[in-house]
């Protein structure tokens, strides 16, 4: 973990890669949220762009499909005036037998500045960050069951916008925690930012064994788990889990862990409902709740652009020396 932590930061402690929330200080996360807040205002401009990354090239390296994550990364890079290259690996040279490192070196030779990596294997972004040329920044856009740090930051950004201080909050994450990189990153981010209580709710087969070391309280039923919470985060139930025999049926899962209007009444009256998407209506969440007044699911999507702009700007605008005063 130590090398992973050092890999993300340069010698002066600034963000160089963004691979995982683990090992980052609270101040770094707060800086990302603050900067994202400023970027969120750009939508007021007629020209929804700032020239920060003009002349930089960002490569979306997606080894695994994800329309929402890829498009918000693409929009974020474009609103920073960077050029964007989208590479869908399933249809590229990888299928012709070119090795991953060969492909990376080719992209380096084309003078790219940032790789945004999505991969089905845990540790893929980390591996790439270890093997790229020194001027290249790597952003993890989701690796296997390990981490999805920008998702966690957009979620905490959304929570902060609605709830302000993190200290007094109770946040419940519901569903398949065990296989979810989103949940893992959310738990790290929420704990680093000092959230009062993080709860996870789900069947025993879908909860991690090491929940104590993760710093969460475990619940196996919605009735006690949702009582008095300020934020409910629903996770997508991956249908392939059903085939692995970890779950009896979609119907039964919805009965016990699906978020309906009635179950939401157990939370605080002003609780917000979140979901990283894509949602399975009628499996983990009812349409009544997903489209209801407490849902901030679409806001999460908009916030994802501002948060990804912040992470990209911080990683590419690193400073070799100390900050100078503002020029006048």
């Amino acid at each position: 973990m130590n090398t992973l932590k050092n890999l993300q930061l340069d010698a002066t402690g600034n963000l160089r890669h963004f691979l995982t929330i683990e090992g980052l200080k609270r101040q770094t996360l707060v800086d990302i949220l603050d900067l994202a807040e400023s970027f969120a205002n750009i939508k007021a401009q007629a020209v929804k762009k700032v020239p920060l990354l003009r002349g930089k090239t960002v490569v979306n390296l997606f080894f695994e499909n994800s329309t929402r994550t890829r498009t918000t990364f693409e929009l974020a890079a474009k609103r920073l005036s960077a050029d964007v290259l989208n590479i869908n690996i399933t249809t590229s040279a990888a299928s012709k037998g070119e090795s991953l490192l060969d492909m990376l070196h080719n992209l380096e030779a084309m003078h790219c500045d940032m790789f945004v990596v999505r991969h089905a294997d845990s540790g893929a972004a980390h591996f790439i960050a270890q093997n790229v040329a020194p001027h290249i920044s790597v952003i993890n856009a989701g690796d296997g069951q390990h981490a999805h740090p920008t998702q966690a930051m957009l979620d905490t950004f959304t929570i902060r916008r609605h709830k302000g201080d993190f200290g007094d909050l109770r946040v419940a994450i519901v569903g398949d925690i065990l296989h979810s990189r989103v949940a893992r990153s959310q738990i790290h981010a929420l704990n680093t930012l000092g959230v009062g209580e993080v709860r996870v709710i789900g069947p025993k087969t879908l909860l991690p064994m090491d929940h104590r070391s993760l710093g969460v309280h475990v619940f196996h039923d919605m009735e006690s788990g949702l009582a008095g919470v300020d934020v409910v985060i629903m996770l997508r139930l991956q249908r392939e889990r059903m085939e692995g025999g970890l779950l009896p049926s979609e119907h039964e899962f919805f009965q016990r862990y699906g978020l309906t209007g009635d179950k939401l009444k157990l939370a605080k009256p002003d609780a917000i409902v979140m979901h990283p998407g894509p949602i399975n209506r009628g499996v983990e969440i009812s349409s009544e709740v997903a489209d209801g007044p407490q849902s901030v699911i679409l806001e999460q999507v908009s916030n994802g652009i501002a948060v990804r702009m912040a992470v990209m700007a911080m990683a590419l605008g690193r400073q070799p020396g100390a900050e100078t005063g503002r020029e006048t």
Partner: protein
């Protein structure tokens, strides 16, 4: 080493307001908008906005995302949001900052304003115009002019009582 400067800034600001009024009249501008640049420029603009009796609210600009030294110094997380509570399209704008030195901040501010729309004109009001220009930018109205060496920095403190000081940097 920091030395306070003894200028009567109320008088300086009153003089700036009078000259801005004269310039507006000369150009036949009746309803200008005012935009101050964070942080010191907003303090100066607040005073001028009041002295000129501008009805529309004051706009504020943080030019961090438009700076030309991003590669060198990165972006500071505490960027104050820009807030232009009006349409700039076809309007006459008075842009205000505290100190004009290299001209790079004004270049960045103009770029940012143009991303909101195409103003009819922009006037530049500056509290302290000093030596050190690196771009072809000059103030339309300046409160004070100072001939300073590159190692000297003039700094405005506020916002309650505006005062100027001179700092020597090595």
């Amino acid at each position: 080493m920091t030395t306070p400067l003894q200028h009567d800034l109320d008088r300086v600001l009153a003089g700036m307001a009078a000259r801005l009024r004269a310039t507006l009249e000369e150009r036949g501008i009746t309803a200008p908008l005012m935009i101050g640049i964070h942080t010191g420029g907003v303090w100066v603009a607040r005073c001028l906005h009041q002295l000129l009796g501008i009805e529309e609210p004051l706009g504020t600009l943080d030019i961090s995302f438009y700076r030309d030294d991003f590669e060198r110094i990165g972006v500071h997380p505490q960027v104050k949001p820009s807030n232009l509570p009006f349409e700039v399209e076809d309007r006459h704008i008075i842009l205000v900052d505290d100190v004009l030195q290299t001209g790079r901040t004004i270049r960045a501010a103009l770029n940012e304003i143009f991303d909101y729309g195409r103003p009819a004109s922009v006037l530049l009001g500056i509290l302290v115009e000093r030596s050190g220009r690196e771009l072809p930018i000059c103030a339309d109205v300046a409160g004070l002019s100072m001939d300073l060496s590159p190692s000297e920095q003039v700094k405005l403190t506020g916002p309650d009582k505006l005062t100027l000081s001179l700092k020597r940097v090595k």
